[in-house]
């Protein structure tokens, strides 16, 4: 019943026969804090090799959707498949870059140690950190331009540098799917450039990137798809099809000042 209703509203066909093989497919996701859903009945599919921005106003449930998809939060309802398989069997193929603010930056650890966390699957519980692990971590750091900071305590870094270290940790996992939560929030221009360059390289390698994003003016430069969210899904699709003024108006309503809209290169 539910599936049919959803299929008719967003115009997508759902065969339901073969499981969706896309890197991540979310079906009927509802997450609530107490009695108030912040994400309501969201379906979303992120095709392989695509780069999607999740956009929407503050409190629209963007980060919540990401966290619930990863099982960090427990959704009230909804299923997630990753490459057509249950989430838990595919976790090694997912790299998550959390919000910078979620971490205590006075924690006694160095940049290198943080990136080595990305190798925890290889290291297991007991294996010693060998030069090849260290080399790999350094290589990931140089991809984000942070190799020279390897021995710094993480609290000594600027916000942008911290964000790049988080990205390096995700790279170290060698995942196929990258989920980022506001990677550009509060970072300097150089960091933003460095991060977007890395993400575009990942896309070129056929990896899938999904990022919560708040800067509407860069959406069409950085991404090829959008998921517009405000508790429920407003639109999903290519930037050309879905990133339209009508959809943005539907998501942001009065909060989207006309002046702001004028400056945004929206499709259509």
């Amino acid at each position: 019943m539910k599936r049919i209703a959803l299929a008719s509203t967003d115009g997508q066909t759902m065969t339901g026969e073969a499981p969706d093989q896309s890197p991540i497919a979310i079906r009927g996701m509802t997450v609530s804090y107490g009695q108030k859903p912040v994400v309501f009945s969201v379906d979303a599919t992120f095709p392989e090799g695509s780069m999607t921005a999740i956009i929407g106003p503050n409190g629209a449930g963007k980060s919540t959707l990401l966290k619930a998809s990863l099982g960090i939060l427990r959704p009230l309802s909804g299923t997630v498949t990753v490459f057509g398989q249950p989430l838990n069997s595919q976790r090694h193929r997912i790299a998550y870059v959390p919000q910078r603010a979620s971490v205590d930056w006075d924690f006694p650890t160095t940049v290198l140690d943080v990136v080595l966390m990305g190798l925890s699957r290889e290291l297991g519980l007991l294996r010693l950190v060998r030069p090849r692990h260290r080399d790999k971590a350094i290589e990931c750091l140089s991809r984000v331009g942070m190799a020279e900071f390897a021995d710094r305590q993480i609290g000594q870094l600027s916000g942008g540098q911290q964000q790049r270290v988080f990205l390096a940790r995700a790279l170290a996992q060698g995942a196929d799917l990258y989920l980022l939560d506001e990677p550009f929030a509060g970072v300097d221009a150089a960091t933003e450039k460095a991060i977007i360059a890395v993400l575009k390289t990942l896309k070129a390698e056929g990896k899938t990137v999904v990022s919560v994003h708040h800067d509407l003016s860069t959406v069409s430069d950085y991404f090829d798809r959008v998921l517009i969210l405000n508790t429920s899904k407003i639109a999903e699709g290519s930037v050309a099809d879905a990133f339209t003024e009508a959809n943005l108006q539907a998501a942001y309503g009065g909060r989207l000042a006309t002046a702001q809209v004028a400056g945004i290169p929206v499709a259509g």
Binding site: G71, I72, P108, L126
Partner: protein, 401 residues
């Protein structure tokens, strides 16, 4: 006597006890580090106080079954049961009610401890209870400890230590970045439960040596002390273990040398001495280093501001600034620049002008963001960029005396 105790010359038993206490201290320091990193150090206080009713109950049960009730293994088993209950109570209260964790800890700690004291009072009235010596479990005592007890403590400490080291990576990941750890598939509640379980094991094993009231000190003081000296997780737990081990050894040795000396307080005081020394003397995070850094920085700011005032031909209002300039040979006591002062002032002014130009250049946003009035511009731009900036400079002005 004290010297003999510290050099392990009080005989086989005392040596065994000292080794046991050292191992226990090491294990507590390492295990406590993960609790400290998770910012839940106080949970250990609830756990330790919750051991007391278990001790009392175990004694009563053992006597009722016809034993003498003083078997350490039996008492520790009992203490583990109620400690686990206390831990579950704290977890439940925190997760399922609106109580914050600190309130939950306070409630559980006092209720369990109160119950334990009542049970000990009851035991005092029992015929076999008079000489039970259960009160030594409150503050710890190594005097007259049996060989079997020392072996039990050493083995328990070693086992906990090994388990902690095996599980350290997941515990560190959860402590540093819970969401990331969850995304990697770690079960946060399980990892937390394991951490608490290890802390509980150390607590129970340490009852005889440190006593339940002060075992928190052996779990909290060493990691906090170690943190002063290093920024690396691996070194924090290692150093914390060493500090705990030394505290345990000294406490046990001194206590063994005199029957009336409880071990717990000596261990705490030893640990505290190391803590106090670290607090003041640690190179980066220590209080003294912070004061020195602050004063040095304040001086640099004053000198810089003074030089800029000289460069602009403005008077210097703060006497402190003039004193600093004078002491550095940059000005006369009345605040008039010397030859050297004029040169430095000109350089300071040039720096400011360069920064001004840099901050107006849209291409150098990242570098410009590093401006704080003190930072030399050479540290944020290349010499080529500096030359480019200098092309925007007006002809250099002479600084008037």
């Amino acid at each position: 006597m004290l010297w003999q105790a510290l050099t392990l010359q009080l005989g086989y038993n005392a040596t065994l006890v000292a080794i046991g206490a050292t191992l226990l201290g090491f294990a507590a320091g390492v295990t406590g580090t993960f609790l400290f990193l998770r910012r839940r150090s106080l949970v250990s206080d609830a756990i330790s106080h919750a051991t007391l009713p278990g001790v009392g109950l175990a004694f009563i049960v053992m006597v009722a079954l016809g034993g003498d009730g003083r078997s350490l293994a039996g008492l520790l088993t009992g203490s583990a049961v109620t400690a686990a209950l206390g831990l579950v109570a704290v977890q439940w209260l925190t997760r399922r009610t609106r109580l914050a964790e600190d309130s939950a800890i306070g409630a559980v700690l006092s209720v369990f401890f109160g119950l334990g004291v009542v049970l000990l009072t009851v035991i005092q009235t029992m015929e076999s209870g008079r000489q039970a010596g259960l009160d030594s479990l409150l503050l710890g005592s190594t005097a007259g400890m049996l060989r079997a007890d020392a072996l039990l403590i050493a083995a328990g400490g070693a086992l906990t230590l090994i388990l902690t080291l095996i599980l350290r990576r997941p515990m560190i990941m959860v402590a540093f970045d819970e969401d990331y750890a969850a995304a990697r598939g770690l079960n946060i509640r399980q990892v937390d439960l394991v951490t608490m379980g290890l802390v509980m094991a150390v607590t129970v094993v340490g009852l005889k040596v440190v006593g339940l009231i002060l075992i928190v000190a052996l779990l909290i003081i060493p990691p906090v002390t170690a943190r002063f000296w290093t920024d690396r997780t691996e070194r924090v737990w290692l150093l914390s273990g060493v500090i705990g081990g030394v505290s345990g050894f000294i406490g046990a040795a001194i206590s063994a040398s005199a029957p009336a000396l409880p071990t717990g307080p000596i261990i705490v005081l030893t640990g505290f001495s190391v803590f106090a020394a670290s607090l003041f003397l640690a190179p980066n995070r220590g209080v003294l280093a912070a004061i020195i850094r602050h004063v040095a920085f304040q001086r640099r700011v004053h000198v810089r501001q003074g030089l800029l005032a000289l460069a602009h031909g403005q008077p210097i209002y703060e006497r402190y600034t003039v004193r600093l300039l004078h002491r550095a040979g940059l000005s006369r006591p009345d605040g008039v620049a010397t030859e050297a002062g004029r040169a430095r002032a000109a350089k300071a002014l040039l720096d400011e002008k360069r920064w001004e130009i840099l901050r107006a250049m849209p291409d150098h946003e990242a570098a410009a963001a590093l401006y704080d009035g003190m930072r030399p511009i050479e540290t944020v731009v290349t010499s080529d960029q500096l030359a480019e900036i200098d092309t925007h400079l007006a002809a250099p002005q002479e600084v008037l005396a």
